[in-house]
Point group: C2
Chain length 314, copies 2
């Protein structure tokens, strides 16, 4: 079965880590290329390449777990040295891009070196900036500025767009068209998931694809992005950027309670569990699957195996 | 045939590149770990690891030439960016050392990843500083300060030593004892070749080894290290540090003329072709092989293939 996952960041890492364990799944990860913060953002500024961070996470998710190269890819140098807190995997991709002169080729070579199960495709090769228009009319430029807001404003995000307009990487279109199942999310709504749908050619390819389309709703809201959002609000936003006429066959919503000790850190960040507003969700998608998906660790995260089983059960 | 090469730097790169082409040669490179300049030196200072530079060069020399990882290992980031002119291969070895917590293990893992033909062994795991006593009585500390002298003095090197005393890496002893052929040099006399012989246990193992011992004399003198040296002066110094009772079975000396256009850069650096003082050499070693070994490029360097054929012809 051909499964295409659209995203970037931690949520996509969980989906890919879970799905790769199933031998009959042929995986393709379509990854946002709009990161502008941290090690990835600095390399982007200095080398004029596309930011490597989200690609790196997907490569690691799909790599052979026994491989020492996987540990290397996850290694980060300290801040207080001449390596300036860079992620080794980002440096690897940057050096490969310098050598090959080509982002797509660099990802392909890294995929071979890491012996990944599946493929990682950049959603676009356009060097573009993610921008957000807020409800107070102001505009924020840059993924990291949207992700971690510097200015104290209670304004919500009205809409996001890319400047300049980005063109889809052609293999992405083929992958979407040939897919049996398209999985969108989970992940930061405006900084990881929707940026993929802003790329010209992506919503169009999702629309014409005969694949079942699944959206995995986040476990927690995010301050400045999705404050007070119920599951249906997430779905509505994704549908809005998918464009008219595209249906989501199923939405997957977590059933469960966050333990008080897990909540402490989230409360500091004003993040709260996403409420399951069943009736609203039912109106938006073909089917809603409400089941326990979370991992019982220090953080409240999607459990890769539970998530993969639920997705493949559709 | 088991061949052990002792060195570090460009000369050793040439020997290893040449010898690895011969299928019946089982290669071990014993590498100096006293580098203190450039990317390697900065990583050494910041991480407290042993300097990776010389190991990196040997790994590249022995790696599969079609491998993109080989090109990555040779890649160097620019000076004017947050990567501060670091060699990617050095970063690779540094990250591997951080992950494994062990220099020898890191070299072993890198050897596997690069699919090298042969082995690279650090001469010592002691974190030590190369020091030079000059003929004017002054002392220079640090390999890079000896290699590229900062102070303008016409004093020659009287002797070199390690501070603190370094202990041989045990596998080096085994390799030397089991060798059929031990190749010393070519390379910077006091900063690449002799540092290996300063490690406690190395001269002792060379002495008891039944291997044929070959010394490859440099093509050019080096200002501040070997001004005015004839071939016999190089041999004398190596014999001095090998210690009493150890014989060199053969010395290999280049026969040839440096073209005027090649000499221009060397003259600026006060480097001149090493004179072949036949009679003096004959007194010091079992046999002297005098034949054309140089590569006809922009720089006057040992040709890996000619050198390997000459070495194996012994």
């Amino acid at each position: 079965m051909k499964v295409v996952v659209i995203g970037g960041g931690t949520g996509t890492y969980a989906v890919l880590s879970g799905l790769k364990k199933f031998p009959d799944v042929e995986l393709t990860a379509i990854v946002t290329m709009m990161d502008s913060g941290g090690s990835s953002g600095r390399l982007r500024d200095e080398f004029g390449h596309l930011p490597p961070g989200d690609v790196r996470k997907c490569l690691v998710a799909l790599s052979n777990e026994d491989l020492i190269l996987r540990r290397l890819f996850n290694f980060r140098f300290e801040e207080n040295c001449s390596l300036n807190g860079h992620s080794f995997g980002n440096l690897f991709l940057t050096a490969l891009t310098e050598i090959t002169g080509d982002t797509a080729k660099a990802i392909e070579e890294a995929s071979k070196i890491l012996a990944i199960k599946g493929r990682v495709l950049p959603v676009t090769l356009t060097n573009t900036t993610l921008c957000a228009k807020l409800t107070d009319g102001s505009v924020i430029r840059g993924e990291t500025n949207i992700d971690v807001r510097k200015e104290k404003t209670e304004a919500m995000i009205d809409s996001v767009y890319l400047d300049p307009q980005a063109l889809v990487f052609p293999l992405v279109v083929t992958a979407l068209k040939e897919a049996d199942l398209i999985v969108i999310g989970p992940g930061d709504l405006y900084s990881s998931i929707i940026p993929n749908l802003l790329v010209k050619g992506v919503p169009e390819a999702v629309k014409v694809s005969k694949a079942k389309k699944v959206y995995v709703v986040n476990l927690m809201t995010k301050h400045g992005e999705s404050d007070g959002f119920g599951a249906s609000d997430f779905i509505k936003e994704v549908l809005k950027y998918l464009g008219p006429g595209t249906k989501i066959d199923a939405a997957i919503v977590n059933k469960g309670k966050v333990a008080p000790e897990q909540m402490q850190d989230y409360e500091k960040e004003k993040a709260f569990p996403v409420k399951y507003d069943f009736l609203e969700c039912q109106k938006l998608v073909g089917r809603v699957i409400w089941c326990p998906l979370a991992f019982s660790g220090k953080l409240y995260r999607h459990d890769p195996e539970k998530l993969a089983r639920t997705i493949l059960g559709i």
